[in-house]
């Protein structure tokens, strides 16, 4: 292992709700971590908190020695990918432009390289190419999440945060997607942190945690 994702005293609290009370957890780089989630247990906020997408939270979320919470936006966008449970696409753009947007904004790839990277990624995810020309509102929930995943994967992030990817997916699609994520995690040293309530998904990860008393604890799943 070449590094870790470490949460140091990560504290997430809304005006009337304490979600996470000074979390101190470390995850090895290149591993798949599942967070067993329940309704309104704060798992989405946890992912956003770890990824530096929440304001006014305390603590540190350290990825390979760099605190994500204080990283410049551009560096964070290259190192951390986020897959939303629903929506998460920019409605001004079609699917291709949505996936290309972070590449165009944060990398020096030319048009041909961008196109080829996107083609390879959606092929790996078994997403039909015809989807690339569609508008976000024309996609169903599963397609929207896959496009979110493709947009995150094209950036080859060091940390990938996935919020309940599996909703509405058939088992074989879950299997192939999890295989792809596992392969990428091992090959590219990418840490994947995903929330899920699906046992099928949680069986595929290296470690399962659950949220209990505002802390993350080992889950027997």
């Amino acid at each position: 292992m070449t590094g870790t994702l470490t949460l140091e005293n990560l504290h997430i609290e809304y005006p009337e709700v304490l979600l996470f009370d000074r979390l101190n957890v470390a995850f090895p780089i290149g591993s798949l971590i599942g967070i067993e989630t329940d309704v309104l247990d704060g798992a989405t906020s946890l992912l956003k908190g770890i990824g530096g997408m929440l304001y006014d939270i305390d603590g540190r979320s350290i990825l390979n020695g760099r605190n994500i919470l204080t990283m410049p936006a551009s560096e964070r966008a290259r190192k951390v990918g986020f897959v939303y449970e629903d929506e998460g696409l920019i409605s001004l753009y079609d699917v291709f432009q949505n996936i290309a947007l972070p590449l165009e904004f944060h990398t020096d790839l030319n048009v041909a390289q961008t196109r080829s990277l996107i083609d390879a990624t959606i092929e790996a995810l078994n997403v039909p190419k015809a989807l690339l020309q569609m508008q976000p509102h024309e996609l169903n929930d599963v397609q929207t999440r896959l496009v979110n995943l493709a947009r995150a994967l094209v950036m080859s992030p060091e940390l990938l945060l996935i919020d309940e990817l599996e909703g509405g997916m058939p088992d074989d699609m879950i299997d192939s997607t999890m295989r792809l994520l596992k392969g990428k995690a091992r090959k590219e040293n990418m840490t994947v942190l995903l929330t899920s309530s699906n046992e099928h998904v949680l069986r595929e990860v290296d470690q399962v945690l659950k949220i209990q008393s505002n802390q993350l604890v080992e889950s027997p799943v």
Partner: protein, 295 residues
């Protein structure tokens, strides 16, 4: 267990007390009531002005990203889209209004001014009435009614769908993607609309003059107008387009971005932004006209 302020579980025979929904709303006369009524709108206006100044400064700061070639490419695509939607697609309505204004203006003037004097004074009248005042005002009102309302609605819905947060998550400032194209496209669109309006008013005016006097010389009338338009006139019109367009765009973004949770906030945003834009745009135009043309 009922919540501390849950009024649905009152004991029988106890009087039901209703807490005021909004403690800021005075439910009885107090000395502070009228004072608040005076102070609140001023405070709100001050906040809005400070927000608008902040937005302009944020837009100018974000403009430095345009020096990076790839990011400029993303901007330019949205900028062209905005120019097309605002400056080009508005031409038909701008043209239609200009035809009506041109026809009405000249036919009314013919009622009061003899034909020969009319032809002599055409250039001056056109410059004073159309070029200086009507062109900018009517074009601005069309921009507000047609495009600024759409931008406010668009930004409002983007906020409702949490797309600003998505962009922040991608490390892309919503200011770059949503504000900058409007900030630059609106002034340019408004300038195009001024030019187009003046041109169509001239053509329709000439048509009316020609109907009453087929020997009226097109080029003589055109040259009469061009002789009246000095560099100063062009600069004032340019300033009206830049300041007016920029303020209309920024006000749209400001009110659109205030939408948070509910669809009804979008209609409120459109209503508030349109009112503010009309006020600000008329003030800018009138102030500039007074400053520039008062002898």
């Amino acid at each position: 267990m009922s919540k501390p302020n849950d009024t649905s579980k009152q004991e029988p025979n106890q009087p039901v007390t209703v807490e005021p929904i909004d403690s800021d709303v005075p439910n009885r006369f107090t000395v502070l009531g009228p004072l608040k009524m005076l102070v609140n709108p001023v405070a709100q206006l001050t906040r809005t002005i400070m927000d608008l100044i902040g937005l302009i400064s944020v837009a100018l700061t974000a403009s430095k990203l345009l020096f990076q070639t790839k990011r400029r490419g993303i901007f330019m695509a949205l900028f062209y889209r905005q120019i097309y939607n605002t400056g080009v697609r508005a031409l038909y309505i701008n043209g239609a209004v200009a035809v009506l204004v041109g026809t009405l203006l000249i036919s009314r003037l013919f009622d009061y001014i003899p034909n020969q004097v009319m032809e002599d004074q055409f250039g001056y009248l056109f410059m004073v009435i159309v070029f200086r005042e009507l062109g900018p005002l009517i074009s601005g009102v069309i921009l507000i009614a047609r495009s600024a309302t759409s931008i406010t609605a668009e930004i409002g819905y983007l906020r409702l769908r949490r797309e600003f947060q998505v962009l922040n998550g991608l490390g892309i400032s919503p200011v770059f993607l949503f504000l900058l194209p409007v900030f630059f496209a609106f002034p340019l669109s408004l300038l195009l609309m001024f030019i187009y309006f003046d041109l169509v008013v001239f053509l329709s005016s000439y048509a009316v003059i020609w109907l009453s006097n087929p020997s009226a010389d097109f080029f003589a009338l055109l040259s009469a107008i061009l002789n009246q338009i000095s560099l100063n006139e062009i600069a004032i019109n340019g300033l009206k387009a830049v300041l007016g367009g920029m303020m209309i765009g920024v006000i749209s973004i400001h009110f659109g971005a205030k939408v948070e949770n509910s669809f009804t906030e979008v209609s409120d945003a459109i209503s508030n932004s349109t009112t503010t834009q009309l006020l600000v745009f008329f003030v800018i135009n009138i102030l500039l006209s007074i400053l520039a043309y008062t002898q």
